[in-house]
């Protein structure tokens, strides 16, 4: 399993993603520079969190036009796994790989806290090692994490079961109080129709060791690793 982590100007979680994959999950990881073309064989490309291009104009609006993104779009269209965390999620929405958009938190404040997430679907490479309805604890840290989609798009998300994570309280209830940013229907993470592109606002990379207060983030990464290993086996 080979992972690539893209560094955009203003990425700040790239090293955390790299370290959690390398140290906590013992995976093969390489950094990828935004100005390069996407070359080499990768199983999963990660777009990390941060403030690419200073969040100017809109979060993720300019990173979408980085040279490497053309390769990422092609990679995704050919079935490669793409994971966008926080700013990476925003970039995936801006680039049209995921539906909808992320806008200013309804409370207008930057939120930085631990949240509980309920896993809604498990038939994806990103959540395959988790049980449906299982709760995961990891942090959020963002100012523009309010998920929005128009009613038709939301309907499609439901029909195709693309909503993978919801913000919930410690008992697993998707209440307004448990929603840190005002996201529609408490949506914290979703995938595309083909189920090979996943974006989420919470940060699994800083929840991969007991030292950091949670190891639940590792379940996302190990789901991906397990999915790729299974595929390699079935393809002989």
């Amino acid at each position: 399993m080979r992972w690539g982590v893209i560094i955009f100007p203003g990425s700040c979680d790239d090293q955390d993603v790299f370290d959690s994959l390398k140290i906590d999950l013992r995976q093969k990881v390489k950094f990828l520079w935004h100005k390069d073309e996407l070359a080499g064989n990768y199983d999963c490309i990660v777009l990390p969190g941060g403030f690419s291009y200073g969040d100017y104009l809109r979060c993720g609006a300019m990173a979408r036009f980085s040279p490497i993104m053309q390769g990422v779009v092609k990679f995704a269209r050919s079935g490669g796994l793409v994971l966008g965390i926080c700013n990476g999620f925003q970039i995936l929405c801006e680039s049209g790989l995921l539906p909808g958009a992320l806008v200013r938190n309804t409370g207008l404040q930057f939120v930085c806290q631990q949240v509980h997430l309920r896993v809604e679907e498990t038939d994806t490479p990103f959540t395959g090692a988790v049980k449906k309805g299982q709760l995961l604890k990891m942090p959020v840290k963002h100012g523009d994490g309010c998920y929005y989609a128009d009613p038709q798009t939301l309907e499609r998300l439901h029909r195709n079961r693309q909503i993978l994570l919801r913000y919930v309280d410690p008992k697993g209830r998707a209440t307004t109080a448990a929603n840190p940013n005002g996201s529609l229907e408490n949506i914290a993470g979703l995938c595309n129709e083909k189920r090979n592109v996943f974006g989420l606002m919470p940060h699994p990379e800083v929840a991969c060791s007991r030292l950091l207060g949670s190891e639940d983030g590792a379940k996302i990464f190990s789901s991906i690793a397990a999915a790729r290993t299974d595929r390699a086996k079935s393809h002989g």
């Binding site: 929405c93 801006e94 958009a101 806008v103 207008l108 929005y148 989609a149 128009d150």
Partner: protein
């Protein structure tokens, strides 16, 4: 040609900044204010052989980068003088 571009959140997309400003205006005595929306205003010079050509290019820029049409509407004005 000088182009003035206005970008505003679509109706139906929650505008928390607009709401906060509206409450603030109410609190200082402007109770007659409703429906405050906060957007972006951009100005730029563009080289183009004609107004129609400029319009075509600016529309493209807005659709590709300057606005996110999932959440925002835009309009623009073009004037000949720079």
């Amino acid at each position: 040609m000088r182009v003035k571009i206005f970008v505003l959140l679509k109706n139906g997309v929650l505008d928390p900044q607009g709401n906060a400003i509206e409450r603030s205006l109410h609190s200082i005595g402007y109770e007659e204010v409703h429906d405050v929306r906060v957007g972006k205003y951009l100005e730029l010079d563009v080289d183009a052989p004609s107004r129609a050509a400029a319009e075509l290019r600016v529309r493209e820029m807005c659709d590709k980068l300057l606005a996110n049409t999932v959440i925002e509407d835009y309009r623009f004005e073009i004037s000949p003088e720079s």
